[in-house]
């Protein structure tokens, strides 16, 4: 069933059983453990989770940018356009990075070079991946700036002369300069104000269609995901616990963690005295609970949850959940 789905969907990215650890002096940090994730061509996937859920590590893993040491990819495969990125050499990965997969980082203040004008920073990317002259690459850089809504006159300015929102536009221009098939945006608007965030999200939505790129949007904000993604994956303690179409996930979330996450966001349309909270804290990634990593905080947990690591199961067509308790509940309801 799952196999059939994969073939139908023309997968651009297929991550299987990815495990990434950081081996530090104090112990092994299990940042990502047995992660499975698929992304079809032209889709945008929202990767949602709290700090320390392993979202950024997953993204860095795809890019081949895990700092090593201490980071080690201990198992798994990352198929991109049918080829396993983890078997590629560093030289091959350089062509992939920026050319086929581009990344937008969270903080535009730190991801730009402060002593280089913005046109040169965009041109650098273009020259690395395309066979063009210096002059041509600078012209193309100017075109990219106009595309993201920055006037051509400003192309010789330095990053500090731009506001936060404008800097993030420059970063987007760099990322899209070589027409990548996959764009990974790691909290692209977290450092920005709401009205500026709205501008940048609007721009990203437009450009995604224009460039026909697939996108992974990493965020902790379920509102942004509702706005621009098609698929959603909820991460908890290094694993995907729920994966579904946006509509399915927002209308009837199934994993207890996803439900808790939705309930802890203050609602604009409703007055509630008390917010529902998930008791306790995220587990220490050096010392993860046995079985289901969420079981110590879960209201639905049964004895088995502490023993067996739950596998993802397709509870409804296209709706994958890693929770056997919910699976049984749903199965019972359907059997009746």
């Amino acid at each position: 069933m799952e196999q059939a789905n994969r073939n139908e969907r023309d997968l651009l990215l297929d991550i299987r059983d990815l495990t990434i650890q950081y081996r530090t002096d104090n112990g092994v940090v299990h940042a990502v453990g047995g992660l499975n994730l698929q992304l079809g061509r032209g889709e945008s996937l929202g990767l949602v989770g709290e700090t320390g859920a392993g979202k950024t590590t997953t993204a860095l893993g795809i890019m081949g940018l895990i700092p090593s040491p201490p980071g080690v990819v201990t198992s798994g495969q990352i198929f991109f356009e049918g080829e396993d990125l983890l078997t590629k050499s560093e030289t091959e990965m350089r062509d992939v990075r920026g050319g086929k997969i581009a990344m937008i980082f969270q903080d535009p203040m730190t991801s730009l070079n402060p002593v280089m004008t913005v046109d040169r920073q965009i041109a650098e990317m273009i020259r690395l991946h395309r066979n063009v002259s210096d002059a041509e690459s600078l012209t193309l850089a100017g075109d990219m700036l106009e595309l993201v809504g920055i006037r051509r006159e400003r192309m010789h300015d330095y990053p500090h002369q731009f506001s936060g929102g404008m800097k993030q536009r420059v970063v987007i221009a760099i990322a899209l300069a070589c027409d990548p098939g996959l764009l990974i945006a790691d909290e692209p608007t977290t450092a920005l104000d709401v009205t500026i965030q709205a501008q940048v999200l609007e721009l990203m939505k437009r450009l995604k269609i224009q460039f026909n790129a697939s996108m992974i949007l990493i965020t902790h904000d379920l509102g942004i995901v509702a706005d621009i993604c098609d698929k959603v994956a909820i991460m908890y303690a290094g694993r995907v616990v729920e994966y579904a179409d946006k509509r399915a996930l927002y209308t009837h979330p199934l994993h207890p963690y996803t439900i808790g996450l939705f309930n802890s966001v203050p609602d604009l349309d409703e007055d509630r005295e008390e917010l529902a909270v998930i008791p306790g804290l995220m587990p220490d990634p050096m010392d993860l609970p046995t079985g289901c990593t969420f079981h110590p905080r879960c209201e639905m947990a049964v004895e088995d949850c502490a023993k067996l690591r739950p596998e993802m199961a397709e509870l409804e067509p296209g709706h994958f959940v890693a929770c056997p308790v919910r699976a049984r509940m749903l199965g019972a309801a359907q059997g009746r």
């Binding site: 104000d193 927002y250 604009l268």
Partner: protein, 329 residues
């Protein structure tokens, strides 16, 4: 709520300017409002709009350039102007007015243990003459804010953001204040921890009847906690009203754009998104004009030549716009 003529705090024409090498920066520019006893006033706006500066001026962590902050005396019939009193009087008043800072990572001394951090305000103000009483009070405070007793000898770096913020809250509660400025108390925290802290602040207010000023850039959070909300833009309050009215019927074009820009975690919400052009202009030497004119779709000649005053358009609903009530609805 108290009599409208005798609010708990009255802020009148408060200004805070900073000298910069490019000219005078108007961080807070002539704001007036009042705060009722026991209420939560939300203060929202984008970075650089002056909300934190205003929060600090309210409790005189910054000296104001002009204007007054009148705090009702304990008897309830007279006021003290916090901006004018001497340092020694202010020191006594500090027991009544407190602040919780945004970043639980930088506002705690990393070399003090939890116990020492919470003891600090008690020691500085010589509240207790013997250690037993002080220890009892500290443990009581720790349990009030939900810190386990076993953490008393831990250091901030050993704790997560939520627990650190709880220390910050315990410190501000130590002297039994009446008025607390909460400066982005949950912005550095994850949603689940954020929900825990918001619930805690709510419970504390119900139990001890604190008056809060809650500063945040997150409108959903502000709506959840506030009784009334003031929206700031470039050093001025552009709209102030009850929290429900503000969300149902925003009257200032900036508030309308701000509310429409919030991403909502729901599908099929029919929302006309107003995308503002450009960025917030510079707060250095602003002209006598509406601060929002450059980004406002309804801008007229009068907006470019005169600063609109904050006027009461409907009972309790104040708006600073020449065309309030006429535009956008």
């Amino acid at each position: 709520m108290t009599d409208n003529n005798k609010p708990y705090i009255r802020v009148e024409n408060l200004k805070k300017y900073f000298h910069t090498k490019h000219g005078m920066l108007h961080a807070v520019d002539d704001v007036s409002f009042h705060i009722e006893k026991g209420e939560t006033l939300g203060l929202v706006g984008e970075s650089g709009c002056g909300k934190s500066t205003l929060g600090r001026c309210l409790i005189r962590l910054l000296e104001s350039t002009a204007g007054s902050v009148f705090l009702q005396n304990e008897s309830g019939d007279s006021y003290t102007d916090l901006t004018k009193v001497s340092a020694s009087v202010m020191k006594d008043l500090r027991r009544r007015v407190q602040i919780v800072f945004q970043d639980p990572y930088s506002c705690l001394n990393p070399r003090l243990s939890v116990w020492e951090l919470i003891a600090e305000p008690l020691i500085v103000n010589r509240v207790f003459s013997n250690t037993q009483d002080m220890r009892r009070r500290i443990l009581e405070l720790m349990s009030t804010v939900g810190l386990a007793e076993r953490l008393e000898n831990s250091y901030p770096h050993e704790l997560d953001g939520g627990r650190r913020q709880r220390i910050g809250i315990a410190r501000s509660l130590a002297l039994n204040p009446e008025f607390i400025v909460l400066d982005e108390p949950v912005s550095a925290l994850d949603v689940c921890i954020q929900a825990q802290i918001l619930n805690l602040l709510n419970e504390l207010q119900r139990e001890f009847h604190y008056t809060y000023v809650f500063i945040s850039h997150n409108l959903s959070v502000v709506k959840h906690v506030s009784d009334r909300i003031a929206v700031m833009y470039l050093g001025q309050i552009v709209e102030l009203s009850g929290y429900k009215e503000l969300f149902i019927k925003p009257l200032h074009p900036y508030t309308q754009a701000l509310l429409s820009a919030i991403p909502v975690a729901k599908l099929d919400v029919q929302k006309e998104r107003i995308i503002l052009e450009g960025d917030v202009p510079s707060p250095i030497e602003p002209p006598d004009a509406c601060r929002f004119m450059g980004r406002c779709q309804y801008c007229q000649d009068i907006c470019r030549s005169r600063t609109p005053e904050l006027k009461e358009i409907e009972p309790g609903h104040y708006v600073a716009c020449h065309f309030a009530g006429e535009v956008g609805l």
